[in-house]
Symmetry: C2
Subunit: 326 residues, 2 copies
DNA sequence: ATGAAAGCGCTAACAA
DNA sequence: TTGTTAGCGCTTTCAT
């Protein structure tokens, strides 16, 4: 027997019907100890492993969850994907991972792929397709950090507070000529808007000037460098910057050091990786693990048709992490 | 019709048999333009999407690939997972992601889960279960950076050269009292051994002293800090360190800066993230994208039963990236 | 406590 | 060119 054994083979070897084997496997119905034992022996002997795909087809539940994110190569997404998968696997769900690289066509393709593979639900952290595209899925979906929708649950960190906290810290550091660089994904990510609003509100309240650059941030470092470089050229008297994520902040930090400028930099995200690599960076920390936990909790509630206490919009608190002095 | 439409529904609406619909979907056999059109209209009208799970069951091929790695939260793994998924999705394969967190029991559980879900193959970058555990799977498997095996293809970067390159750079920087900290995963990862050997050989060739610490590196920063701290205490005259990965190197770098020591640090991996965050770090760069590409190429060859030109062991070249001056 | 039969949604012989 | 039939590996009524 070199072929993969199936349930029927086990049944034959144990001298029982397939039904009985199935019952043993799933602990259902009443089975005599004798038969249970014989079945288990046969399973052992054949090194039998049930085919989950066949099972999924029958019960029309796969226990697959689709994750759509820009790229696990970015620390924020790499970490949140890790936490989500980790929490889901505890609950016996399996994760299909999709990296859209911010390309709308990929996102659409992935969405269809996940539907075709009968995922029980999805968690989406990518931003290039209108959220209405997802509504058509008629599936439990939780989104992270995107436009609020009537039908899809959205989780985000408190971006407005994040913007305020950053601006307040710049003031506390005595910086008065600051700018904010704001990466706006194609489809109106509310996170960017809220962060910007928070930052601008604080400065306005203090009667200070501010300038916000809204740019489409590419993933590659070089383009970011050029962009930051020309912004620095335009503002020779700049003394503070609030960047939309830590990686961009890291680039700005090196650049400012190279130019020997005294510009105070604040980032956003506060991932483990960046915190470890750049302990001197001040940043607004998102509660990544809590966001992952909440996303999973809400998704599983929806999957189990428990819609009690499910709001459409969740906001988790952020906090400032001050960089360590060098 | 609020239920998900199936192939049969399409057939009925189009007034043809299920077979015909299947043929249209898969572009197989000869179909008249008229029927093809009618079928396509019915598909459109019902917003029908084929059930891949049912299809998988029938053809006993899922196009699922399992990825077993320590954690996508670590930049090296996050990036390699990204590349692997990216390349695989181009070939219409789907990726199930598993984060073992270096726990053997999780790794075993994931392995069984992947087998139960009928993956067509696996790429493994985790290190806590003996490789023989995988042999039993009787499945195409490619391993990254682990013990060479007779039966499983292993890809690694040239760790011995990596060790040599690092040691040579330390010498070039005029460092003569150096140590190497070597994170040895539980089950004899050859990568650690080879890097160490390369480092030690070079120093021995120059008649220089060296010291290698082989420690089980935990994931958390604090424990690493404590460990590094006591090593630094033991060696007040140290002037060079070669760390087994960039994150640990980053921690060492901050620590050395805090202590105002002149210790030259060399890391290992050269991920985009760390390169961006710490451009001043000198490191041995692994060809991450090339490793991902090769892993996928070999895996798909094995899946397609093409074993020509498949060796059991592949080594890709590393290079030194010198940190930028601050 | 156990088994026979039907079927989850799809595809591939084999016929016509 | 199209349809009929059987079956991928499993589970679940419904009998007994």
């Amino acid at each position: 027997m070199t072929e993969k054994p199936k349930l029927e083979d086990v049944a034959k070897l144990a001298g029982v019907s397939p039904t009985t084997v199935s019952r043993v496997l799933n602990n259902r119905g009443a089975i005599s100890d004798k038969t249970r034992q014989r079945v288990n022996e046969a399973i052992e002997q054949l090194n039998y492993h049930p085919n989950e795909i066949a099972r999924s087809l029958f019960v029309s539940k796969t226990h697959f969850i689709g994750l759509i994110f820009p790229t696990t190569g970015h620390p924020f997404y790499g970490e949140i994907v890790f936490h989500i998968e980790n929490i889901l696997s505890e609950k016996n769900y399996k994760v299909l991972i999709c990296n859209t690289m911010d390309q709308a066509d990929k996102e659409t393709k992935y969405l269809n792929m996940l539907l075709a593979n009968q995922v029980d639900g999805m968690i989406v952290g990518a931003h290039n397709v209108g959220i209405d595209t997802y509504q058509r899925a008629h599936l439990p979906i939780v989104a992270i950090d995107r436009k609020v929708s009537d039908t899809i649950t959205v989780i985000s960190s408190d971006n407005y507070q994040g913007g305020r906290i950053a601006a307040e810290e710049l003031l506390r550091q005595g910086r008065t000529k600051t700018i904010h660089i704001n990466s706006a994904p194609q489809h109106e990510a509310p996170s960017s808007y809220q962060r910007r609003k928070g930052y601008e509100d604080v400065l306005a309240e203090h009667g200070l000037p501010f300038k916000t650059y809204t740019v489409e941030l590419p993933f590659d470092t070089e383009t970011k460098q050029q962009m930051l470089s020309s912004i620095l050229d335009e503002h020779p008297d700049l003394d503070g910057m609030f960047l939309s994520d830590d990686i961009t902040a890291a680039i700005a930090l090196s650049m400012v050091r190279n130019r020997k400028k005294d510009i105070f930099i604040i980032g956003y995200d506060g991932t483990e990786t960046v915190t470890t690599c750049l302990p001197e960076l001040t940043t607004v920390v998102q509660p990544i693990r809590a966001m992952a936990q909440l996303a999973v909790d809400l998704l599983l509630k929806e999957i189990n048709n428990d819609f009690t206490d499910i709001k459409k919009n969740y906001m988790l608190p952020v906090k400032l992490r001050r960089g360590e002095q060098l």
